[in-house]
Symmetry: C2
Subunit: 213 residues, 2 copies
């Protein structure tokens, strides 16, 4: 059985994740590397239905932090078993717009849930489906939110206050410090060209270490 | 702060839970005891939306056991914080059609997930919101499913095979053996009158031990 590779893209709202996913996709396609682009929360019909609950601004009832974390991992269990694990087993590269680190950042840093609980869920649900490379697009939340605002109305999580996103950003950076070999922090205030150049250099390095191609 | 009491009703499909909830409600109302009737999965708008995902037979994708368990506890976290805990704090009696034991029975016994994982989630999410009295309506699954079939089309979980419900029943009975003081096993093959007489006797005992009324 061939083994694919899992690349994740992380960052707060307006950091430019979609653009970065596009750059990675173009790079993979230009090399005829079979790949799957996906996202969290979501990635399967059941997980997208869970995403609807998570992001809907319509619930008058406030969603508990514990509920939010459990919903994230419920969708993730589905996403991993239906999409990520089969694709990796088939030798494909998987690019996910947000993945495990996002739970540490949002539900850990943002909501203040203990990291140990998230870790327990991660070990259970994700097991060996760990990303090999993560691009963390970092920028001040005030800048990111201003960018995101231009795209349309905010979802439930985007409606949080600035200090929430400051905590999310800090938790992301703590993760980067804990996993320096896996997580590449990219300054998202740079121009699109500068970001792209950094990505392409890193992807080329990753491919060199690959035994599959 | 007054403390209410939490009564739960458990059992497989067609065991007569709704009838029993009605008997308890009538008994409470006749004594002018303020009560809240609720159910799991569900009990709040967010938890009912989660219930839709859990029970919908429409998802072609099969729902993973892990996803099912996490969705159950996601809804439960919401249900406890929005409904159960506030009602108990207000001195009300809460009657829930299914609660924690159902996860041990369905996701533990039925799906085969380790009881330790369910216990970890229970300690985290339910904390002190434990039922004081549980009526476990027990009957052979073949009988219960035949009864439930008359009510209309089966939901996703009701569509499981008979051996699934045999495992659910066994896990329920194991719980009853572990918590004999809390869980009262009621033979649901008895007549409605016989079941009602047992319930009323037990409820009267429970009220005698109450300091609140």
């Amino acid at each position: 059985m061939k083994n694919g590779r899992l690349i994740t893209v992380e960052g707060i709202e307006g950091a430019g994740k979609s653009t970065v996913v596009g750059v990675i996709r173009d790079w993979l396609e230009s090399r005829h590397i079979p790949c799957v682009l996906t996202r969290e929360p979501g990635g399967t019909p059941v997980a997208e239905a869970i995403r609807q609950i998570l992001l809907s601004p319509d619930f008058k009832e406030s969603i508990q932090s514990e509920t939010e974390l459990l919903l994230m991992f419920a969708g993730r269990a589905q996403h991993i078993s239906e999409v990520v694990a089969p694709a990796l087993a088939a030798g494909k590269w998987v690019v996910s717009d947000r993945y495990l680190d996002a739970s540490y950042a949002y539900q850990g840093g943002g909501r203040g849930l203990p990291f140990e609980r998230i870790q327990w869920l991660e070990h259970w649900i994700a097991g060996a489906c760990q990303p090999e490379l993560t691009f963390l697009l970092d920028l001040p939340p005030a800048v990111g939110l201003a960018r995101a605002k231009k795209r349309g109305p905010h979802d439930r999580i985007e409606q949080e206050r600035l200090d929430f996103f400051e905590r999310v950003r800090a938790a992301y950076l703590i993760r980067a410090g804990q996993f320096p070999d896996r997580i590449m922090v990219v300054d998202a205030l740079q121009s699109a060209e500068e970001v792209q150049a950094l990505l392409l250099k890193k992807l080329a390095e990753l491919q060199e270490t690959s035994q599959n191609f």
